[in-house]
């Protein structure tokens, strides 16, 4: 028991120190947490022995809270409006960015299930890192920003449909069993969405409390309970949590976000460590080449998405370039998808590949975004000198 406490304290303290580094250099802490997990894990420099059980449960809670706070960001009306207005760009985004992962998995001979998982890994932009980039660079007021945010919302919605499909496929369900699971999933999602959209006030009335303590416990309890029930119904716990987040909106969402944010930060950090723990660093070198190729493809496809989205909003070339680079970072949800695949017994090389992919793009994305405006300026200058 004492050994557990020492290890746990050491892990969290190490994460805190890494977090301080990320704040100092204004970068995302995710790649640093992943590296820490790799160092602690099997085959790493400091293998953990006793606190695995806590870390493993904590990681599950981390995923649930990540998705819950994501759902809190959006009101049901915003989701419906985004679906109406941004569907063409959103679908183009999914097609362009899922393709590299799916093709890579098939070429590597990992099979169709891994192809679906890897498609998800290459597709989703990290809304957390992108939001930070937009804020840090003062791009919030720019005309392409609503289009970029809409792409993020669309991806998050798509994930609510994607995760149950992936869960069913990973469970190795046959055609009949798989269809049944998907039907149950679709039914559950429809029920939760219906309650969220039409009767969100019921949920809010149940949860609301003037006491912060009561509110925290109710929100956390409800989220984890619904996530657990969703998991029982093969819908994926993460999606259940996401839908609870959507059901809670208005001033209550604001309070809930402030209360849950510290818990989310703690457990999400534990999740990244957990993922790193289960990734053997010695398996990284063989997949680094593939990850780099996928990263280059991912930069190109996301830039194309951003370009399309911004052009549709009537924005000129500089803004289109900004939109593209803002969408490049990958992060938490790519790891969530890979984590699901690996724990469900998917191809073990998927973990290291996803880790390397996210390590590259979580760092390269914000750097590219910083370079977007100087690059556009340089191109304009060259064109004008060439023209004169």
């Amino acid at each position: 028991m004492t050994g557990q406490l020492i290890e746990l304290g050491a892990i969290i303290l190490a994460l805190g120190l890494l977090g301080a580094v990320s704040v100092r250099f204004s970068i995302s802490p995710i790649p640093l947490y992943l590296l820490a997990g790799l160092a602690f894990g099997s085959g790493g420099i400091l293998p953990l022995t006793t606190s695995e059980e806590f870390v493993s449960l904590g990681a599950e809670v981390g995923v649930i809270l990540l998705l819950f706070t994501l759902g809190l960001e959006y009101t049901p009306d915003e989701l419906v409006a985004t679906l109406r207005t941004s569907a063409p760009v959103g679908l183009a985004d999914l097609a362009l960015n899922a393709a590299p992962g799916a093709i890579a998995a098939i070429l590597l001979g990992w099979g169709p299930v891994a192809a679906v998982a890897l498609a998800g890994v290459t597709c989703v932009t990290s809304s957390g890192i992108t939001a930070k980039v937009i804020g840090d660079l003062g791009w919030l007021g720019n005309r392409e920003t609503p289009a970029v945010l809409s792409v993020l919302v669309f991806e998050d919605l798509a994930m609510a449909a994607y995760l149950p499909i992936l869960t069913a496929l990973l469970a190795g369900a046959g055609l009949l069993g798989g269809t049944l699971t998907l039907l149950i999933a679709a039914g559950t999602i429809s029920v939760i969405l219906f309650v969220a959209l039409r009767h969100g006030t019921i949920v809010e009335r149940f949860v609301a409390s003037p006491s912060q303590e009561v509110l925290l416990l109710k929100v956390l309890g409800l989220t984890v309970l619904v996530a657990g029930l969703a998991q029982q119904l093969q819908v994926s716990a993460a999606v259940g949590a996401f839908l609870v987040g959507i059901a809670v909106s208005g001033p209550l969402a604001h309070d809930a976000r402030q209360l849950i944010a510290p818990l989310r930060d703690l457990f999400a950090a534990v999740f990244f460590v957990f993922f790193g723990l289960h990734t053997d660093p010695t398996e990284l070198p063989p997949v680094v080449g593939i990850a780099a190729l996928l990263a280059v493809a991912g930069i190109l496809t996301k830039s194309a998405t951003g370009w399309l989205a911004a052009r549709r909003a009537g924005v000129a070339a500089t803004g289109r370039l900004r939109a593209g680079t803002a969408l490049v970072p990958r992060g938490e949800f790519n790891i969530v998808i890979a984590g699901l695949a690996v724990t469900a017994g998917g191809d073990s090389r998927l973990g290291p590949l996803a880790a390397a992919y996210v390590l590259i793009l979580a760092v390269a994305g914000p750097l590219l975004a910083r370079a977007a405006e100087p690059f556009a300026h340089a191109v304009r200058m060259r064109r004008s000198t060439a023209g004169s």
């Binding site: 960001e73 919030l140 007021g141 945010l149 500089t318 803004g319």
Partner: protein, 160 residues
């Protein structure tokens, strides 16, 4: 004047318009009440070159400055235009005999010839306050009159 209103999913609302002189400016209303003041590039209307984050109070103060608080500014102008007329802003100190009493009690016009035209309280302007208006400490009383009259009004409000 056309104000473009755009929803920013997960953040709030954005309002932008173009001024008569051709500058694009706007504001983002965050859901938690914060505001960002936006100023766009002169040439490229897509690019926001300046974002000033404002707290709720700062945003209110700015709105006051641009809106109703202009009354003080107009008074200063009036003061410049009319020779011999002085406007002065007199704070009600915590120990003032009129802290908690009404404007009518002070009988400023009868005693000094100057007029109280406005009171500024917590950044809000009460224009043309009525005789039953109750003074509080930290109010700023705007008085217009001759130089002697406004000085006398200052003495009355400070010492009775």
């Amino acid at each position: 004047m056309d104000v473009e209103r755009t929803a920013l999913p997960g953040i709030g609302l954005q309002h932008v318009f173009t001024t008569a002189k051709g500058r694009r400016i706007g504001a983002i209303s965050h859901r938690d009440g914060r505001r960002d003041l936006l100023v766009y590039d002169r040439v490229d209307p897509d690019t926001c070159v300046l974002t000033v984050p404002l707290t709720v109070e700062e945003a209110n103060a700015l709105a006051e400055l641009l809106g109703s608080a202009r009354i003080v500014e107009r008074l200063t102008e009036l003061h410049r235009q009319v020779e011999g007329l002085v406007s002065s802003q007199i704070p009600i100190a915590a120990g003032s005999p009129y802290d908690g009493r009404t404007l009518g009690d002070a009988q400023i016009r009868t005693r000094t010839g100057a007029s109280i035209v406005a009171v500024v309280r917590d950044g809000n302007v009460v224009a043309s306050p009525r005789p039953d208006f109750g003074f509080q400490a930290r109010d700023i009383v705007v008085v217009v009159g001759t130089a002697e009259g406004t000085a006398a009004a200052g003495d009355v409000l400070a010492t009775g």
